[in-house]
């Protein structure tokens, strides 16, 4: 182990390192207790909602309510964190499956659950292309791809990728395309691939396509080609309080709905 130690020891000896550790220890750790008796609500929200939910949270706060702290990641990651005891108050999932997962573990207040948002699946291309195609069952998407790839969320686990696979299957294109997929770790990563022109096409939510100025929506996938894209929300177990209830109500208010619509969601 001598040589290994020789390499790591100087790293450990660095005084800067010690300073860093001391410094880090001095940073107050934000404590997230229950919603009672504090001014923060911790929302765990699906990655695709980040811009909209941040805006809604600010709006809620401006109306004299509690501050919303928002943590966005893949719905699956968030669900697993909650299952491991993360102290979130409210969970918004991009897929009913992950809400069911928490529901089965009795980690949400079931009567507070409802379908907050809807979304659509779109085919996108870099802004520099203009392929003008329509998504119809006879479309030879694999031929259009040629040797290139189709950027989409990983169909094994990313909700957008699962919906995308279902849509392509319903349209009879999946078998030709499945070996040409570039499975990305989340839907935003698929967006980046198309933005950077690494792939000629990608499948993302219409809300994602709207954020980017570097991609164009080729066509919207038929609503019947995949299960409806639904974002359920619920208060987490034992986190029901006047504050979280007020927020849940606010999410359904006309002001909040206007924000969601602006970002390309459909509201239930």
């Amino acid at each position: 182990m001598n040589l290994l130690l020789q390499i790591y020891r100087p790293l450990l000896r660095l005084r800067a390192f010690l300073f860093l550790v001391t410094f880090a220890a001095l940073i107050p750790f934000p404590g997230f207790g229950s919603a009672e008796g504090r001014e923060k609500i911790l929302i765990f929200s699906a990655g695709s909602t980040i811009n909209a939910i941040t805006e809604v949270g600010d709006l809620f706060n401006k109306q004299g309510n509690e501050k919303c702290v928002i943590s966005c990641a893949a719905s699956s990651t968030l669900a697993k964190q909650i299952a491991q005891g993360a102290l979130a108050d409210i969970y918004i999932s991009a897929n009913p499956k992950w809400m069911d997962y928490l529901s089965e573990k009795d980690l949400i207040e079931p009567e507070t659950r409802f379908d907050l948002l809807g979304n659509r699946l779109v085919l996108i291309e870099p802004i520099s292309n203009d392929s003008r195609i329509e998504i119809t069952p006879g479309l030879d998407l694999a031929g259009l791809l040629g040797k290139e790839r189709m950027a989409m969320g990983d169909p094994d686990h990313v909700p957008a990728g699962i919906y995308g696979k279902q849509a392509l299957m319903a349209l009879g294109m999946w078998d030709d395309i499945k070996d040409r997929v570039a499975p990305m770790k989340d839907v935003r990563a698929a967006l980046v691939m198309v933005e950077r022109e690494e792939t000629p096409f990608g499948i993302v939510y219409s809300t994602d396509a709207r954020i980017s100025k570097k991609v164009r929506i080729v066509d919207v996938f038929p609503e019947t080609s995949h299960p409806p894209i639904i974002y359920p929300v619920a208060i987490l177990a034992e986190k029901e309080s006047p504050a979280t209830k007020r927020l849940i109500l606010f999410l359904q208010s006309p002001e909040a709905r206007a924000v969601f619509l602006k970002h390309g969601f459909t509201v239930k």
Binding site: T77, P183, R196
Partner: protein, 234 residues
């Protein structure tokens, strides 16, 4: 479940991991030794900067390194685009890109190890060879390189072990394609993301630990053996 019987998915990702890491290390050898030599032996303005750049992958979030790679080496990247136009060679969405990502992430560890052995070497031996008439190249190949061998060896194994674990840069740069870029850590990640994938993930985890421990043990064994050969009983 039979622990010794690997599933096709496990074999595929393990094989791919070993393949990608091998190429990552092979590709790092020459540039790594060269840069280590430059940092250890040459005094020039901008040396600290070079040192910093080499170490960047060690401190940057791997996802950021992956994004840099995409911008630089992607099909339409600054260097990658040119490379593709001229030679038709592309890193995008292939195991070659995974090897590049793993190589870049492991590079600082390799350079550190080689540089350390170059710096701890008895410079008198190089000077002696020099005064006896050997040119710079000859001194390098007959004195410097053989004497820095323990460092190169440790660096190689360390870099190999680091490459095996590479995740963030790979998934951002070349995505997660089964059989092409889905290495052990990416397969593990995919399983963790699926409800009910815990058992499969746990098995992959054990495989990863065994391979990594094995690599480190070989490294230690070889390093000791080399020291023994060079210095006799210690």
């Amino acid at each position: 479940m039979d622990l010794l019987h690997l599933t096709p998915l496990e074999i595929e990702s393990l094989r791919l991991s070993l393949w990608v890491s091998t190429w990552a290390v092979l590709g790092s050898l020459v540039p790594g030794i060269f840069i280590a030599w430059v940092l250890a032996r040459v005094r020039f303005p901008g040396r600290a900067l070079l040192d910093g750049i080499v170490h960047l992958p060690l401190v940057l979030p791997p996802v950021v390194t992956g994004y840099f790679l995409l911008v630089l080496m992607g099909r339409h990247g600054m260097i990658g685009g040119w490379l593709y136009d001229v030679t038709g060679f592309s890193f995008a969405f292939s195991w070659r890109g995974a090897a590049l990502a793993a190589g870049v992430m492991a590079f600082p560890l390799f350079v550190r190890a080689v540089r350390l052995s170059l710096e701890s070497m008895d410079r008198g031996l190089e000077e002696a060879a020099h005064t006896l008439g050997a040119g710079r190249t000859r001194v390098f190949f007959t004195i410097t390189l053989p004497l820095s061998f323990p460092g190169i060896l440790t660096g190689t194994i360390l870099a190999f072990a680091r490459s095996l674990g590479e995740f963030g840069a790979t998934i951002s740069f070349v995505s997660n394609i089964p059989g092409e870029t889905r290495t052990l850590p990416l397969a593990l990640y995919t399983l963790i993301q699926q409800p009910g994938g815990e058992v499969g993930a746990f098995r992959l985890c054990i495989i990863a630990v065994v391979v990594a421990l094995f690599a480190l043990m070989i490294s230690d064994f070889l390093a000791r053996r080399r020291i023994f050969l060079m210095h006799g009983e210690k």
